[in-house]
């Protein structure tokens, strides 16, 4: 009885947040702010993707930006081929290829003439790569910090490849000077409400998709794997398969976020696959609360929002990185479950205050959790 009740209220909260996000352009008519908030929402989506694999399956992916960046490059390649090459004017070749004395469009660029292919690739390439990487890591029963290191290393390899193969990727400068994202004649203006709605809509869909996965049987098994991997394996489940699944879904969401990022930022850069961004995602999720999809998303919005505000204020121009660092330390020390954990605590306190029936009904719920923890501590 309890669990569905909790699920309903959870869905209500998620829906309320999504609607609030979707309503923003109605009260806000500022090209700069819409663009900025759309950018933050993309980060929110990226945080959701990591929360899914880290918070729900215990896979700490330090290379989440790899799939994000690949999505971003797929979109940039498709949009690049749509530009009139104003800076070169040579046979439809992207400008940086002309600079690198490339005379013919490389074979893997050719399908990107179709935007639909670009969009599909932006999701499928990250998914395929994650599945392949996951196959080696999880079939080999690599766990914990070693899996985290492998994801980080894989990302650095992809980033180095992109920087090094500048004839095909634009190298260090990335892919710039892109066309607008256009579907059926409708152009999404990076500074208008259309792009904002696109990002917010995608975010809402991913949030609910992720929520659906965590509520499904698969989601429960994943959480069991997170808490006690061997026990799940002894029950006869193929642990690796479940892990590969969630790792790939997480990569697909990150790839989608990367594509939206290119639309909002109007370029793709190898820094999108960089270690700083990738570790930032971990921080957002940790601040927001990794075991809550919504918490992780809000964590990203709060951290990037505060970061933007601090670095823009004159008072903190010199010290904003220091202030950010201090805030992280405080959160980690005092809110180990992040902002979501803090909210839950406050909510629990409110629930407990009315005496009688309500208090009784909450009491037994907390007990099994407690005993569960004790077992975990023993084993």
């Amino acid at each position: 009885m309890k669990v569905p009740g909790k699920t309903t209220s959870q869905i209500a909260i998620y829906a309320a947040v999504c609607i609030a996000i979707l309503l923003v352009p109605l009260v806000l008519d500022d090209a700069f702010l819409l663009n900025k908030y759309a950018r933050y929402l993309v980060f929110g989506m990226l945080a959701v993707s990591l929360s899914l694999s880290w918070g729900y399956a215990g896979i700490l992916n330090l290379g989440q930006a790899m799939t994000f960046g690949l999505g971003s490059y797929c979109m940039a390649m498709a949009l690049k081929l749509k530009t009139i090459p104003v800076h070169t004017g040579s046979d439809g070749l992207p400008d940086f290829m002309v600079w690198n004395n490339v005379t013919e469009l490389p074979w893997f660029w050719i399908p990107f003439h179709s935007l639909a292919f670009g969009v599909a690739a932006g999701i499928l390439v990250p998914v395929a790569l994650a599945a392949l990487l996951g196959w080696f890591v999880f079939k080999g029963r690599v766990t914990g910090v070693y899996a985290a290191i492998i994801t980080l290393a894989a990302m650095v390899v992809v980033q180095l490849l992109i920087i090094d193969q500048q004839r095909f990727t634009g190298g260090f400068n990335g892919i710039t000077d892109l066309a607008q994202f256009e579907v059926a004649g409708f152009a999404f203006d990076a500074y208008g409400s259309s792009s904002y709605y696109l990002v917010a809509g995608c975010l809402a869909v991913t949030l609910f998709l992720a929520l659906f996965i965590t509520k499904s049987k698969t989601g429960l098994i994943l959480q069991a794997i997170r808490d006690q991997e061997d026990r799940v394996r002894f029950f006869g489940y193929d642990v690796a398969l479940y892990k590969i699944f969630v790792f790939s879904v997480s990569a697909g969401i990150a790839g989608l976020a990367g594509m939206l990022y290119t639309i909002v930022m109007e370029f793709a850069s190898p820094t999108f696959l960089g270690v700083p961004l990738s570790l930032s995602v971990v921080i957002w999720v940790a601040v927001g609360g990794r075991q809550s999809l919504l918490g992780a998303m809000l964590g990203a919005l709060v951290v990037t929002g505060v970061q933007g505000a601090l670095s823009e204020s004159e008072t903190f121009l010199e010290t904003w990185t220091l202030v950010m660092g201090l805030l992280f330390v405080l959160v980690v020390l005092f809110l180990p479950k992040g902002l979501a954990g803090a909210f839950e605590k406050i909510a629990a306190r409110f629930e407990r205050t009315p005496p009688g029936a309500v208090a009784e009904s909450t009491a037994p719920r907390s007990e099994p959790i407690k005993s569960g923890r004790e077992i975990e501590g023993v084993s």
């Binding site: 500022d30 090209a31 700069f32 702010l33 663009n35 900025k36 950018r39 104003v86 800076h87 070169t88 004017g89 940086f96 600079w99 690198n100 004395n101 180095l160 920087i163 090094d164 500048q166 190298g171 260090f172 400068n173 990335g174 710039t176 000077d177 892109l178 990076a190 500074y191 930022m265 109007e266 370029f267 850069s269 820094t271 999108f272 700083p276 933007g308 670095s311 823009e312 004159e314 121009l317 010199e318 904003w320 990185t321």
Partner: protein, 415 residues
């Protein structure tokens, strides 16, 4: 007591009225159209104060601020003060793009002075082109860009190489070793260098690119020892410059017979590697700190006075400084109600002044700058000795290596 309260009330009322008058944009919807309001002109200053390129970009930020302060202290532009909005893009292209948007869309700056790396320029370019604003870029770069939204005050390949390469061939010989960091700037410089070398009948014995940030040059040093080129043409950037010079020095190679000729080694890099490792090598640039002119003495003195006696000026901080004065001259020609990025661009075309390096002017066709190339040899004290200055100022041609392309006021023309 009573008096105090009354004066407090008066003061509050006065403050209230003042803020109403002082911030009319809260009340007037057309504020966004009036770019210069209340005797103030807002400009953006976009150099990284944190992150990997912070050290060099901070010096550009300082040179820009110095010029703005000087202009304001001297009465501003037609009585209007320049108000700099300083942002820290943290050496990250995405943050560059975000901050550029803020400066252009939210702060409504009429121009933005900024950036060092090509990657960051490329990241902000769509913002300035789509919003039709103006970006002032002080860094030497690879050319091959033709944007009506950027004023380029740094050197392009022809301005650094046209005098330098023939001079080196005549003085040292025809066997050249090209080494650069692996990105677009060194490749373009080398494209142009090879063209010049071919005309001079010289030979490229090797062309090598190392990853950005590379610091292990022992294999390069070995190749240098076996190939024995006459000139090492270096477009290595950043920390790699320091590593290359130090390892060259440690290997006991001799700058007198096999000098490095660099387009990127300034007083700033020399300060990082130490004078001993840099001594004897050559750099071509339009500006060196030791250049003897009244304008330069004034600039160097003011810079040291404002930011510290140990600070150096170099060939990127000098354009950062004089481009603010170019901005001033352009804006001074305009009526207050006319000041916007479009009119500033039209006004700056052909505008010139005597900069620390000599008399410069903005080429109306491609918005690049006529400059005075110089050849300097580094000494052990970390400063350069200027051996040669070009006889005349040199035209900027960002497409010189590609004769069928020409950057004009209407855009890129192909023939």
């Amino acid at each position: 007591m009573k008096n105090h309260r009354r004066s407090f009330l008066k003061g509050t009322a006065a403050l209230g009225t003042m803020s109403l008058v002082g911030f009319p944009h809260i009340w007037s919807k057309n504020y966004s159209l009036a770019r210069a309001a209340d005797g103030e002109i807002k400009v953006g200053v976009l150099f990284s104060l944190t992150g990997t390129t912070a050290i060099i970009e901070e010096s550009l930020n300082k040179a820009t601020i110095l010029a703005i302060e000087e202009i304001n202290a001297a009465g501003g532009i037609n009585g209007m003060q320049i108000v700099p909005v300083i942002e820290d893009p943290a050496s990250d292209p995405a943050t560059f793009a975000e901050k550029a948007r803020k400066l252009v869309l939210s702060d409504k700056c009429v121009s933005v002075f900024g950036s060092y790396t090509s990657a960051s320029r490329k990241a902000v370019l769509p913002v300035f082109e789509k919003q039709n604003n103006l970006y002032w870029y002080p860094t030497l770069y690879e050319g091959r860009e033709c944007s009506k939204n950027v004023i380029y005050t740094g050197a392009v390949p022809n301005q650094q190489q046209d005098d330098f390469v023939p001079w080196l061939v005549e003085k040292f010989g025809k066997r050249w070793y090209l080494i650069g960091s692996n990105y677009i700037y060194p490749k373009e410089e080398n494209n142009y260098c090879k063209k010049l070398l071919a005309e001079l009948g010289a030979e490229v014995v090797a062309e090598e690119y190392v990853p950005l940030g590379h610091s292990e040059f022992s294999s390069v040093i070995n190749k240098l020892k076996s190939e024995k080129p006459n000139v090492i043409f270096s477009t290595v950037v950043g920390d790699s410059v320091v590593a290359l010079h130090r390892q060259y020095h440690a290997a006991g190679l001799d700058p007198q017979t096999m000098p490095m000729a660099s387009l990127t080694t300034s007083e700033n890099e020399v300060a990082a590697m130490g004078g001993a490792a840099a001594a004897g090598h050559f750099t071509s640039a339009p500006y060196f700190m030791v250049w003897d002119s009244p304008e330069n003495h004034k600039f160097v003195d003011a810079y040291k006075k404002r930011w510290g006696a140990d600070k150096v000026t170099h060939f990127v901080s000098e354009p950062s400084y004089f481009q603010v004065y170019l901005f001033k001259q352009a804006v001074a020609k305009l009526a207050e109600s006319d000041i916007d990025p479009n009119t500033i661009r039209e006004a700056v075309k052909g505008e010139g002044l005597v900069a620390p390096q000599g008399k410069i002017k903005v080429e109306p066709e491609n918005l690049h700058t006529w400059l005075w190339p110089k050849i300097g040899q580094c000494k052990a004290d970390g400063q350069f000795e200027i051996l040669k200055q070009s006889a005349d100022w040199l035209e900027p041609s960002p497409y010189k290596a590609y004769p069928n392309q020409l950057c004009t006021a209407t855009g890129l023309q192909e023939s």
